[in-house]
Each structure stands twice: as structure tokens, then as C-alpha cells.
Symmetry: D2
Subunit: 308 residues, 4 copies
């Protein structure tokens, strides 16, 4: 296990780093990430209640499985999944059999409890406020976004390795954008021996990429190098690979788009040209649910810690 929290040096006593100690946490619904978030909290000597899970799951024996919303009562922390509700008031429970109601959970939880979820909708936030609960979004935390770049990058590498008939070693790879994902991905590609070029718009992003050891190209001039690329990883949420750019690519170039919707690829154009293009979203949960869950747990505990 990765035990991200151990790296922080905060919990040298193996205990809970916060001033106002969390005693009991409820983890409610969601996919494997939530399972591993529950385990991570449990490892920190927090009593963990889990609702919305059943069957054969890699849950720690110390996590207590609940059957109803009422059992969450004593929790002073509640972690809802990334994308809380599906239909109306129903919490997404892809790993559970019974139905879980968001509002019942909210009512069961005490007012002082710290409530978090991911990608909270306006409606969900409103629902919480009507019940005089405040719920915070861990997806908005910079720390989480940075750490999530790692499983995203690994997921992208795995996909590239799977699709390519050649090694990443010695392959020319273009990374468009040098934000969180671009930066981590470029580092990993270089570590595998790929020849990495970073395309970005801003001078300071290009300076960073140059200082960290990559070839660089202003994004407006990248057409001329496209023909040499074996893979293009896009991380910019804008039309980076439009028809004109796609035409510059070799037929066997692989495109992996990591940017959130609408993404940066003219998909229709790519299909017409017979290019292999992949939209790879939500990779942390798919490629490394355990790490993604631990990142959620650590981020949430930091949010509490900073609150105080």
C-alpha cells in the first residue's frame, strides 16, 4: 500500500494529525475509490462506517458495513462519492445492492459533521443547505488536482503502451499543455526514454518545460513537428488537434486526449483520417482506484485540518 499520508510526516505516531480529532467517518456510496478511501481513513485510527457497499470488496476488516442511513448518526465526517447522486435523491452505489438516499444521509448526520463530496452539483449543494448542512467539494482542492495528475499520467502511459506496436522508448511524444497533467506526464515519458516535446502557449510554461529538460514548441507553431510524432497527448481543454493539425500527423500516430470535455480533438476528422484517437477521462478511478481513494482521504483530512 502506498500510505500517502505517511510521507507527510504529520502522523508519526500513527495517529490522527488533526487538532479536532475525527473519531468516526462515514463513507457513502461510490466505486472502488471510496472503498480504498474508507481503508485509508481506517488506517489512521478513525472508526469507519461504510454505506452502499456489499459483496466481495477489498474493504479492511476494521471498516463497519452499514445497512441504513440511520446508522451513520455518530459520524463527524462523511465522504460522498465523486458525482454524488444519480437519479434525484439517490446516491450512486455501483458496488451496493440497497438504495441510499442523499437526504436521509444528510438528516442522519449531525450538524457539526464535516461533509464532503466530489463534483457537487448546484442542486446537491442546495439540498444540503435546505437541511442546514454545508457540504464541501474535495475536487476543488488544488492538492487533490495535483496528486490526481499522477494516476492520470500512469493511466495514459498504460493506454499508450497497450495501443502502440512500438516502445515508448525512443518514441517521439508530444505533450500539449504544461499544467498539472502535462508536467507529470512529460516527466514519466522522459523516464521511460521517450523523446518528449512540450507544446504550450505561455512563455513561462515553455520556460518551465525547457528548464525541466524537454524540447519545446510554441503551440501556434507545432504543425511543423506533428509529422514526426508517434503519440500526441493532449491536456488542453480547447481544440488543439483540429482538422488542419490532424492532417499533419502520420497515419500511425496515436492520439490520447486527457483534457476534460469537450476535449481537444476533432473526433470526426480523426475518424475520417483513420487515426487512432482515444478520449481518456476519469483515469484515476479506472487506472488506480486505490491511489485515487487514498488521495481523496488525504485531501479530506487536510481540508479539515486547514479549517481549524
Amino acid at each position: 500500500m502506498q500510505n500517502l499520508h505517511r510521507m507527510k510526516g504529520e502522523s508519526k505516531d500513527g495517529g490522527n494529525p488533526m487538532k479536532k480529532t475525527i473519531q468516526t467517518a462515514a463513507v457513502i456510496g461510490g466505486d472502488l475509490r471510496q472503498v480504498y478511501a474508507a481503508n485509508a481513513l481506517s488506517q489512521r485510527k478513525i472508526e469507519v462506517l461504510a454505506l452502499g457497499f456489499s459483496g466481495e470488496l477489498p474493504l479492511s476488516p476494521s471498516v463497519k458495513l452499514c445497512q441504513s442511513e440511520e446508522e451513520l448518526q455518530g459520524a463527524d465526517l462523511a465522504v460522498f462519492p465523486l458525482g454524488i447522486t444519480g437519479e434525484k435523491d439517490t446516491v450512486r452505489t455501483p458496488l451496493g445492492m440497497q438504495s441510499v438516499s442523499f437526504s436521509k444521509c444528510l438528516r442522519a448526520l449531525e450538524k457539526g459533521a464535516f461533509l464532503v463530496g466530489g463534483k457537487i452539483s448546484a442542486q446537491e449543494a442546495e439540498q444540503a443547505q435546505e437541511l442546514h448542512r454545508n457540504i464541501r467539494d474535495y475536487l476543488k482542492e488544488e492538492k487533490m488536482a495535483v496528486l490526481n495528475a499522477v494516476p492520470t499520467a500512469e493511466g495514459a502511459l498504460e493506454l499508450a503502451m497497450h495501443e502502440l506496436p512500438c516502445t515508448l522508448w525512443k518514441s517521439r511524444c508530444l505533450v500539449t499543455g504544461y499544467g498539472r497533467i502535462g508536467r507529470i506526464l512529460a516527466q514519466r515519458l522522459k523516464g521511460l526514454g521517450a523523446q518528449v516535446t512540450v507544446a504550450a502557449r505561455r512563455q513561462d510554461a515553455l520556460a518551465w518545460a525547457q528548464a525541466e529538460g524537454y524540447e519545446i514548441v510554441p503551440i501556434g507553431e507545432m504543425e511543423e513537428i506533428l509529422v514526426h510524432q508517434q503519440v500526441v497527448f493532449n491536456t488542453i481543454p480547447a481544440m488543439v488537434l483540429g482538422r488542419e493539425q490532424l492532417r499533419c500527423l502520420r497515419k500511425d500516430c496515436l492520439i490520447i486526449d486527457l483534457a476534460s470535455k469537450p476535449g481537444g480533438v476533432d473526433w470526426e476528422g480523426a475518424a475520417k483520417l483513420g487515426l487512432s484517437a482515444h478520449l481518456a477521462l476519469a483515469l484515476p478511478g479506472k487506472a488506480a482506484p486505490q491511489t485515487a481513494g487514498e488521495i481523496i482521504a488525504e485531501t479530506v483530512l487536510d481540508m479539515i485540518s486547514e479549517e481549524q
Copy 2:
């Protein structure tokens, strides 16, 4: 494309680096590696004849598809696959429809032609000698073995990423053995942010691993660190992970055995303990047939070059 040969600086004119220039090469049977070997030879201004391939393959248009052994006549180089014959005299042609006879090929090829194949059996060598042909084994070339360590390592990484619920980043990975594969694999794992320990027997191998930045452990003392590992990659063709060692591992430890048969894992023991253990052989052809084919082409040309 990776164009390994370009890196060598030998063929700056884009031409053929050898003194006795190869004019025509025959690539006979085999899997995608042979297809890409044919392409790589073709890129070096060698006329390439391919026998034993049909249908939709990524062959260069400049490669000439042959239908019979007789058409190979003019070739001064013949490249047989890794594992030449299947039943008796029949060349393995998993990508072709018609049957190809090894002895007919040998007879069609001129005596002066340079013949190579991979993992040549005693019987195959004998068959060649009876026809007064000498056939050499490219798999015995040190250069090939070194370069093949790269697609092997990438294949192992892809498998590990696919199997693990967590990232390689921050994972504790043990690499047993520090020969070709161990050395390349350890480097890549470190590049991905894993915490790598190298276990080896010889003091100088341990010194190398230490100098190149890894934690080390003499193989006889590795039991005590096994419990911390998330993945164990074995590259030693000896019983490294016997029952005793397996018992030291965590239940969620992933085992990837890269050593040639019989490998280094007590498979029965691993199954009994419920451990996830994978025998990963012949990765270059599976994970990166293009690179593997280019490595074959380059190795063969070097063999000819050194012959002279």
C-alpha cells in the same frame, strides 16, 4: 517509427552502412516482428522479399510479397523467424495462408547468402548444413539481448499497471537480479516514481545497483523486506520465490516473473496462498512487435557488418 538504426550514426546518407552491401533480403515467416523487420530493412534501401504473409498487414508498400520459395532466389540475406519451424520442415507462418518449407527456402537461397534465424534448434542447424548452408542465430547476439530488455521492461510495466489497483508511483517494487532486464526495468520503475530495491547475489551487481541509485539487498537476506513490497519482478532463472519467500509476501503483492523457464516462482505455492503471480515470457514480440522487429533487423545487419 523509432528508426533505431538512425541513432547509430552509421547511415547518415540514409543508405546501407555495410561494406559488402546487401541488395536483397528475404524475410520468411513469423509474426508481426518479422513484418516490422522487413519494413526496417526496406527503409535502409534494401529490396525486401516477404514470404509467408498475407492479408491486412502493416507491411511497407516497398516490400514485395512472394508466393513461393523459388522467388527468394536472388536474396543475399534471409531472415527466418524466432522459432523457425513448427512441424517438421514447415516454417511457422502465423500471418500467412500458404505453407512454407524450410528446406525449399534453403535450396532456393544462394550459397553465398547470409542466413539468420532465432532460437535455431539443433535439427534446423543440421538441416541447413546438409544443404551446405550455414545459418546463424541472432538471439545469441549480446546486442540483441540488451536491446530486447527495453520492450521486455515496458511489457512488464504495462502488465503491472494493468494488474495493480494502485500507481507504480510510491509503490515499493523489488527487482530480483541486475542483469539486462533487471537493470533496464529498475531504471524505468524509478523514472515512474516507484521505490525500487534491487536484490542480487554478486557484490559487484549490488555495487552497480547502489551506484545507479537503488536500495539494495543481498538476495539471501531479502526475506525481511518482502513484506513491504507491492510488486516483485523476478529476472533470475532460479527458484527465487520459493514457498518460504512467498509466505513473507503480503496478500495483495503482485508477482511478475520475467525469467526464462522454469522461471523463479513456486507456482503451486503462489496459487495456494492466493497470490497474483504472472509468468510473462516473450514480451518484446507481444508488447512491442515493431521495436522487436527493428531490433532484429539492426542486429542482423550488425552481424553481417562484423563478419566482414
Copy 3:
């Protein structure tokens, strides 16, 4: 030569990338960085006039040495040194014999000329405005700050290697701060095989450091790991190593303070404890004047380019 500009892909024709082409540049006073800035401009097909230099200097033959301010007249770009004037109106010319007057230069230069300098004082800016000239500070450019982190990091490494009786390999190094210098320095130290811990205050900085492969410690908790460190590199302009922290260090720990004044070390305390502590400022000009000069040239050309 490093030809930083070539990496930008902007000047594929070897020419000048700007819309409004700079024909003639004046480089006035300063140290070796200015000499190399002159060379770098000259390599871009700009005619370069140099004032305030004499004797044996590594100036390109194509750079024209001037003897008086009046000769600068035709320039459409003027580059003043980092720290323009020494006494009153006199431009610093440590590499020249004659005296150069800032105001005479300003008068000689045409109004349309693009004027830049480094660390421009309020008085210097005022002086320029009185003559209806606008002068811009290249030191304020983010790009320059980022790129300068590289020669700074190398200078710090050289100093550490020089001072330490041991290798950086396997040494425990603490880098306080994960801004520009901290980030580049940590990367280089890891590349040399040091065991790097990053101490920072902000959660997102720690997350970045963690994602990029370092051990981390919140700065408030770093006391406990100080005892293990062989070198502490400070990059935070605040009292990071006060008396209390210094007392935690081993007697043979090396301290290198890279933060701008007042720096982050209790110098008196360090002296009393007999610790080896070094204030290392303005490293780019000292450790790598050529690279520093090329960075100035490239930054200035970008400033012009963005102006348009």
C-alpha cells in the same frame, strides 16, 4: 554554445522571429553576461553595438565595439546591465576602461528604441522618463526567473560539491521551498542520486513535490528531520533556519542559502555553532555567465515580440 533560442522553434530560418524586426541592438556595460547577451543577439542576425567593453573578451567578431555613447544612435534595442548604474549617472562597466554615462546613452538612443535593463531603480526609471524614454525591466519577466533557476541550481550544486567531503550521491539533502529554484534544484539533486526531502508550507507545493518524487515535510515539522541532513538548501526568503533549527543540525551539515536578502539563515547563530553556512547570491552570473547572457537576450526578444 547552448543556443537557447533554437529550442524555441521560432527562428527556424535562423533569422529574427519578431514581426517588427530588430535591426540593431546596443549592449551597454555590465559583466560577462552582457558579453554573451551581445553574442546571442549577434547570432540572430542582429547587428550588435557594444559599449563599455575592452580588452580580451570572448565577444563574437561580428559585434562592433563602440567608444562613445553617440555611436549607439541607430540602435532600435538597448540592453543595459543587471544593476544599471553605480555612482550617479555612470553605467557599471566592470569590463571596460572608459566611463559610460546613462543619460548620454538615453539621449543618443532614438525615442522608438526598445530599452531594457535589470533591477531598474526608481531613480533610473525616473531619469529615463525625464528624457521621454521608457525602460523595462527584464528581471520582472516570469520567463527569465524560471530559466535563471537553472544556472542558480547548477551553481548551488557546484558549491555543494566543492564544500562537501562526501558525494551528493546518497547524501540526505533538504530543499526548503518548492518555487522555481527549489523545484529545479530538487530535480537535479535527485538526478545525482541524493536523497531529497522538500520542506514547504503550502499543501499544493507539498503535493507537487510528492507527485514529482520527493520525500516531503511540512515546514513547521522539519525540525525532526534536520538531524539527518548532510546539506540544507534554503530557497525561502524568510527566517527558515533560526537558532532553534540550527541547533538540530549535525556539526558537519552544510548550509547553502539561495534566498534573496535578508536570506533565511541566522548567520550569527550558525557561526556560533561552527556550522558551514554559505550565502550564495547572483549565481547565474557567477556560475554560468554565458547561459545567463543568453537567457537575457532571449527574454528581451520575447518582451519585444509580446509587445507587438
Copy 4:
């Protein structure tokens, strides 16, 4: 301190890993390396006697300073310096005041004691045998040679950084030879962001360099790339940079020769061409005496361990 031995996992109890435990070690003469070798032995719970040292030295308080050869009597291990004797029978003691006699030491030491030295001359070996003592050379140990490549590489980097007006980052560096030093040096240069090309003669060395991520060139064809190099590091003990090669270099190219005598540079030719060429020998002792001393101590203990 680096505590190389801790990495070995041999001495988890902080004690002595050998079956036949060394109780007392004598460290006799030599430079700072011997001082640190004494400290390293002392850290392993071995009683250490030091002869040939005086004044202000960084010796551990637990090391016992001796004044005469007779005091060495109880030692079961004696470590002589690298280059044992200067004139006749006198042990080199650059850090000591009194004269130390090699033969008196040999006589004082018991017959069962394990005796080692570095670069033992035929005469010294004979002298030992006459007194029925066997003395072994730690410099011949592969492990020592490998580990010493690290301080050698760091010393070469420090020298290059000191001499170059530019950063190693983005500099084109040629490393000739891919043995111990070439391999470690290339790795470090890449870690600093240099563009590294490896020149070697053997195909398998080139394959290794290629697999580990460097540009490669067969040594016979390196003339054509010499003109682009900012630094050439030679590690081959043969005339690699003869007059013809030197003429291909740029005037500001830096040459660092790390090969043992006679080295690989036409020194006279280099002088005539005005090239900056440096012969850098015995770097471990100069650049990192502490690490070099720890490597000696560890190597010696391994020699004893393997003896048994």
C-alpha cells in the same frame, strides 16, 4: 554521513556482519580517505587504532590514535593506504608527523591478521611475504571500482561546472567509453539536463547506452559530431583525442580526461590548438574523501566476509 554499509541490509543490528568478527582494526597512514575509512569501521562497532595521523583531523572520538607501530599488535585487520610506501620502507603519512615503517607494522601485526592496501607494488608484496604475511589489494575488487565511479563522476561534474561559462543543462556532452565511469557519468549528466552522446567501440556497449537513453556513435565515426560538443569526457585509456580529432573540436570545447595514464588526449596538440584540456586523476580522494574512505572500509569488510 552516507553510511554506505547501512544500505547493504547486512548489519541491521548496527553490528558487524561477518562470521569471524573483526574486533580491532588498524588504519595506517594515508590521506583523508583513511581518516574516513577509520571512522566508518568505528561506526560498525570495531575498535579502531590509527597510526600516522596527527593534528586537527575529522577523526571520530572513538578512534584511538597510536604513536608507534608496536601499538598495532592486537589488530586483526590492518588497512594500509592507496599507494602504501613512499621512500623505501616508509608508509606515506601526509597527515602525520612521525615516520611509520611498513616492515615494523607488518612485524607488529599478528600473522592471522587480515592485511589490505591499495595499488600494492611488487616490492611491497614481497616485503610482506618475507615476513610471512599476505597482503591483499582492495583496488582490484570489482565492487570498489564500481563504487569509485560515483565520486569520480561527481568530481568530473564539479570540474566541468567550474570551467564552463555555460550550464551543463542543454550542453552537448560527449562521453567516450561506456564502462564504469562512462556509464555513471552519462547518467548524472542526463540528470542535469545535458544532451549526452556516448561513443564506444563495442556493439554491446552502444546497445546498452542506447537502451539507457543516450545518443550513440561508434567511436570510429565520432569525428563528425565533435564540432557540436561543449565538453568531451574521455574514459578510455587509449589515444581517443588525437590531433585529428582535436582539430574537429570547437575552440571553446572543454576536454576532461578521466582515463588512467597515459590517458587519451594528445596534450601537446591540445595546447597548440589552445584547447582547455584537463587530466583529472584520482578524483575520489580529491572530490569526496569521505565517500572514498567509506567505500574502502566497506570493500575491505566484504573481502573478509567472502574469505570465510
